[in-house]
Amino acid sequence: MPKKLQLRIDGEMVSALEGQTILQAARNSGKYIPTLCYLDGLTPVGGCRLCMVEVSGIDRLVPACTTPIQDGMSVSTTSAKLTRYRKIMLELLFIERNHICAVCVSNGHCELQAMASQMGITNVRFSYNYPKLSVDQSHSRYVLDHNRCILCTRCVRVCAELEGAHVWEVTSRGIHARVQSDLNQKWGESRGCTNCGKCVQACPTGALAEKGWAVEEMIKRNDNITVLAHRKGAGA
């Protein structure tokens, strides 16, 4: 049995188990820290940086999803600086690709949208990139729209860690990074894909979706993934 540790989150004393992350400790005690790339049940990667928090005694920000707790730690989950940075984070995700929510199957059920609304964002200060991106419709049941992808890599992880199929990977680097199936084969031609659809359910936006839904109709069930993961004892 791991040791019980005491820490403060936003001034409130909470206890958590050694080896848990700040994010887990916070969630278990009902504290909210925004996240996008994190999905309970999958290995955290610290990619979206939305969960950055302040820890007293450390002169830089740390990601809550990958930082293990320490006894006596004092964490602040909000501050003027964190709010400012989180807003920039979301703004950058909106300008990076073409999020035309009005025509998206996930409109209204999108985690990126929800996060933006929750942060009170009403516009983006940066100019949009408008990259030209492809849509892979080759799969019989699902579709991959790079325009809507935020590279959270939840699909990559759920496929590898829960399904064990390793269909998804990230190719290329920097602004050119893309998720790809089976060494850049069309998804529909992927031999590894089991058509399980976990990647679709894990995807926070409309980047991965089931075919046959109209605008606003695609509702994801990623809680199922968490349940499944905990049953298998996978992830953190």
Partner: protein, 175 residues
């Protein structure tokens, strides 16, 4: 009491936001007592007047004409509001941004319409990208939504009439 001069402008958008303005039901009675609509698709004015108090702009900036117009509107308006997603993020008009303008026009006029060539001078010159208003002029308030609800528009106008700064956090959906 001096009535507030309100203008509405329709750039590259579907007019849905203007529909939302019209959809305000009984609230229009209260508002109408306090405002004059001095310009826009809802009234018959040819030239954008000087000294407008509030202007609601629908749509993205897509053409050179839009770009010129929004500059003029900005110069003559005290409070400029980007109304709806097209004005705020460029939304649907931005869907053409991945296609070069010449190819776009060719597809529309020549390929799908069977006409020989693109009607050059008669079209407003398209910009290479449709872009949101704030990339061209300073915007005082963004009102996202596709369209923003009538209630939201009424709320914002009422707040402005009462001299209050409208609080949007929690009331709007972004994206």
């Amino acid at each position: 009491m001096k009535r507030v001069k309100l203008a509405t402008v329709w750039l590259d958008g579907c007019s849905g936001c203007h529909m939302s303005v019209l959809d305000m039901d009984a609230a229009i009675i209260t508002l109408a007592r306090k405002i004059d609509i001095v310009y826009g698709p809802l009234v018959d004015a040819q030239e954008f007047p000087d000294d407008v108090d509030v202007t609601l702009v629908e749509g993205a900036v897509s053409s050179q004409e839009d770009a010129t117009k929004i500059q003029k509107v900005r110069q003559r308006t005290k409070t400029l509001i980007a109304m709806g997603d097209c004005a705020v993020t460029s939304n649907v008009p931005a869907m053409r941004n991945g296609v070069p303008v010449s190819q776009l026009l060719h597809t529309i006029y020549a390929t799908s319409n069977g006409s020989k060539d693109v009607p050059g001078e008669r079209l407003p010159q398209l910009l290479s990208h449709a872009r949101p208003l704030h990339e061209f002029v300073k915007i005082d308030m963004h009102l996202p939504g596709c369209p923003p609800s009538s209630k939201l528009i009424v709320g914002v106008l009422s707040d402005l009439l009462d001299g209050k700064k409208p609080e949007l956090a929690g009331k709007v959906k972004f994206g």
